[in-house]
């Protein structure tokens, strides 16, 4: 599919994501201005506060965005998943340029002018309003402009905590190896940044002294800007209304908030569950594509009600047990401990397992006649391994794996985004990766899965994990889905999305038609 065709087919989603993106940036910048400018003014009045407060703002800015989003998840009231946390994080990022430029702008006002203002009998408030702020406006606006451009960029990361926006396309594109998605996400957020930069530049010019002093040009610019502002506010107002509409739905008792992790299979499973629930007349709120273990945190903090998980992951990464290989024991023990520790229920297994798949390029496997992981050990000394962050850190991941098989890579494995390891392997930049056995990309990219001959990896049966208070509503659907999806079927579903660019929603729909 060409990029142009992609745009034609998806313009309404692109429009919706752009609107979400703009909304995140607009609200967070507005908040940052409402708080940051007064703080900046305060700092010009209490100079001793400048170093500590600017220092804090500085530190906030250096916190990596994904880390900041993650830190906000468990915080009550302001945190959690979704737009709220994203807005808070974006606001925190916007503080530094806005506060700093407010301080710089006001301090930069000619002291003779301030002296004259005081001597004329103006109050501090009048001096601020009539003299300092108007004269500092161009500098403050430059700060806002910098903040907005940063926010447009950082807001793409917000997709990782389910805040939506154009980052959704970027993350999805990375996962699904889909350049159209990547391009659309990147291009439209870049366009947003450019437009915002240009528009704020124009406002800045409006307040620049030489233009305040040129009445005709001032009026003309004002006219154009008021027009643009009306358009943007209309656009945002529209999205606010549609936001509120979807919010009000949430208050219905019969609403189930379905979450998913940030990879294709999880999204498809969540989508299948969502559509089955919707057929039963239950309202569904989708909180998909949550990174790392955010879905678990979100479930615990009552931000979502249910999400697809794997028994092995729950057993090792969440319950912190040493990996064991008995499928049933893992399921039973996980179920019991989840009920006791977290008050969460676990559905019957869905029928397939998504185990770790140690992958090499097909031609390498053929040339060296590789079948099992043990086969690869002797020739792997000079291989470059590439593993996802998850595999590198989890207890059943790299460390135990390399020990169990006695791997001895001479080069430190590259730690990268899981979705990117497939591409890196295909293009020969790495030689061995740890993927997922149900991944559609394995056949698409002509990769070969080495057999886990030492049975190192624990079983990863797919299940749903849900909050206990929703057990009644979910029971029937869980029973219908028990043993309903085979490994082959899951691989096909993944391939439909990753290889054929079917939307997860449509892939789930097609599967359900066959299923029922």
């Amino acid at each position: 599919m060409s990029f142009f065709e992609f745009l034609q087919q998806n313009w309404s989603e692109i429009f919706a994501l752009t609107r979400e993106h703009l909304w995140l940036v607009f609200i967070s910048t507005a908040l940052a201005v409402l708080i940051g400018v007064p703080v900046g003014v305060l700092l010009t009045r209490r100079k001793s506060l400048q170093t500590p407060i600017l220092g804090i703002a500085n530190i906030l800015q250096t916190v990596p965005s994904l880390a900041l989003f993650g830190l906000l998840i468990p915080i009550p009231f302001i945190g959690g998943i979704g737009a709220k946390s994203a807005i808070i994080a974006l606001t925190l990022y916007s503080f530094l340029p806005i506060i700093r430029n407010t301080v710089t702008g006001i301090s930069g006002v000619d002291s003779k002018i301030k002296e004259a203002a005081t001597a004329m009998g103006m109050t501090d408030w009048q001096i601020l309003k009539m003299v300092e702020l108007p004269l500092a406006a161009p500098v403050i606006l430059t700060g806002i402009r910098v903040a907005v451009v940063i926010a447009v960029g950082v807001a793409t990361i917000a997709a990782a905590i389910g805040a939506g926006g154009l980052g959704t396309y970027i993350f999805r594109g990375l996962r699904q190896n889909d350049n159209n998605l990547l391009l659309a996400g990147a291009i439209f957020s870049a366009i947003l940044a450019l437009i915002a930069d240009f528009a704020l530049g124009q406002i800045g010019k409006l307040y620049a002294l030489q233009n305040v002093q040129n009445k005709a040009a001032h009026k003309r610019r004002k006219f154009i800007l008021v027009g643009a502002a009306v358009l943007i506010i209309g656009f945002l107002g529209f999205s606010l209304i549609s936001n509120l509409k979807s919010r009000t739905q949430n208050f219905s008792n019969q609403t189930i908030r379905v979450g998913s992790k940030d990879f294709t299979e999880s999204v498809i499973l969540a989508e299948i569950l969502s559509q089955m629930l919707e057929k039963k007349g239950i309202q569904v709120e989708r909180q998909f594509e949550l990174g790392g273990n955010l879905a678990h945190d979100a479930l615990l903090s009552n931000q979502i009600d249910v999400y697809p998980e794997y028994t092995g992951t729950a057993f090792t990464a969440i319950l912190n047990h040493q990996p064991i290989t008995d499928t049933e024991a893992v399921y039973n023990q996980t179920k019991a401990e989840y009920a006791q520790k977290f008050n969460l229920i676990i559905s019957p297994p869905l029928g397939f397992s998504n185990d770790f798949a140690i992958l090499v390029r097909g031609d390498v496997a053929r040339k060296n006649n590789l079948q099992t992981i043990s086969d690869a050990v002797p020739i792997s000394k000079n291989w470059q391994a590439g593993f996802g962050q998850d595999f590198m850190s989890r207890p059943d991941g790299y460390e135990g794996f390399s020990k169990a098989y006695n791997f001895n890579f001479s080069k430190q494995p590259r730690e990268m985004d899981l979705a990117l390891t497939y591409r890196a392997l295909q293009s020969g930049q790495v030689d061995i990766i740890a993927g997922n056995s149900t991944d559609g990309l394995i056949s698409v990219l002509n990769l070969f899965q080495l057999d886990d001959d030492k049975k190192y990896f624990p079983p990863y049966q797919a299940v749903f994990i849900a909050r206990k208070d929703k057990a009644e509503i979910l029971r029937e659907t869980f029973e219908q889905l028990a043993n309903a999806i085979s490994t082959d079927e899951m691989r096909r579903l993944n391939y439909a999305v990753d290889g054929e660019n079917t939307a997860p929603r449509d892939a789930a729909k097609n599967w359900l038609m066959r299923f029922q």
Partner: protein
């Protein structure tokens, strides 16, 4: 008794220090209604500090400054400042205000009637020699230095204050413009019957404008007297000053 001039500003044993450094040392001074007192001295002698004490831009470390017989502490600083005209070097006009808005500043702060303020601004601009039709809607940067200084004087006069404070208002102007403005200002102050305290380092200016000259040196008054008596003084410092004028001639 009626012969006794009314005191507008009075300094009683005023000291001013910054970080232990003595700027003003036991100043005693009276400024009488209708006179133009020139504070004369070199940079750093404390003349601008003395001026700023009068409209409470700064407060004395010890001693008392009285305006119209009332101690500083009994004045509301904002009200006090709006009763005193203030002109500073390079005018200190607001660059984002038109000439009209600049001149109308204090009347607008005091919520005077718009139409009256408008007339008042026109009247004042005429008074300082600027055609209102031509200048009122311009911005400060479109005017020459001399014209801006005229606007500065007009702004100071806008609320019709009895007392004017001027901090080297003509210091940055070229000689010809300066001489013209000095002469016009002297005439203006006499005609309007204003009391003025005028800071300068230029003896020539002091002679043109001052009804009395207060010569300052290291935070003290070396001499406070009329220009005539100033010329006759045998203080070495006065002698030095007079020489600068002789030299110029």
């Amino acid at each position: 008794m009626t012969e006794k001039p009314q005191t507008i500003v009075e300094f009683q044993r005023v000291n001013f220090e910054i970080g232990g450094l003595k700027i003003l040392d036991e100043l005693n001074l009276q400024v009488n209604k209708g006179e133009t007192l020139v504070l004369l001295g070199e940079s750093g002698c404390g003349k601008t500090t003395t001026l700023k004490l009068i409209n409470r831009l700064i407060e004395p470390t010890s001693g008392e400054v009285l305006v119209e017989g009332k101690a500083m502490t009994d004045w509301d600083a904002i009200k006090l400042r709006r009763r005193i005209g203030y002109v500073l070097q390079e005018a200190g006009l607001f660059p984002h205000f038109t000439i009209r808005e600049n001149v109308a500043l204090v009347p607008n702060l005091e919520n005077h009637e718009k139409e009256k303020t408008r007339e008042r601004v026109n009247e004042l601009l005429e008074l300082v020699g600027l055609n209102p039709d031509k200048f009122a809607d311009r911005f400060p940067h479109e005017l020459s230095g001399g014209q801006r200084q005229r606007v500065g004087v007009a702004r100071a006069l806008a609320a019709n204050p009895d007392l004017l404070l001027l901090d080297e208002p003509f210091g940055a102007l070229d000689a010809i413009t300066r001489t013209n403005l000095q002469k016009e200002f002297a005439k203006l102050v006499t005609e309007l019957g204003k009391t003025a305290v005028f800071v300068t380092h230029d003896l020539h200016e002091a002679f043109i404008l001052g009804s009395r000259i207060a010569l300052m040196d290291k935070g003290r008054f070396a001499l406070v007297d009329t220009p005539e008596n100033f010329r006759k003084s045998d203080l070495p410092l006065v002698h030095d000053y007079l020489q600068t004028i002789e030299f110029q001639k």
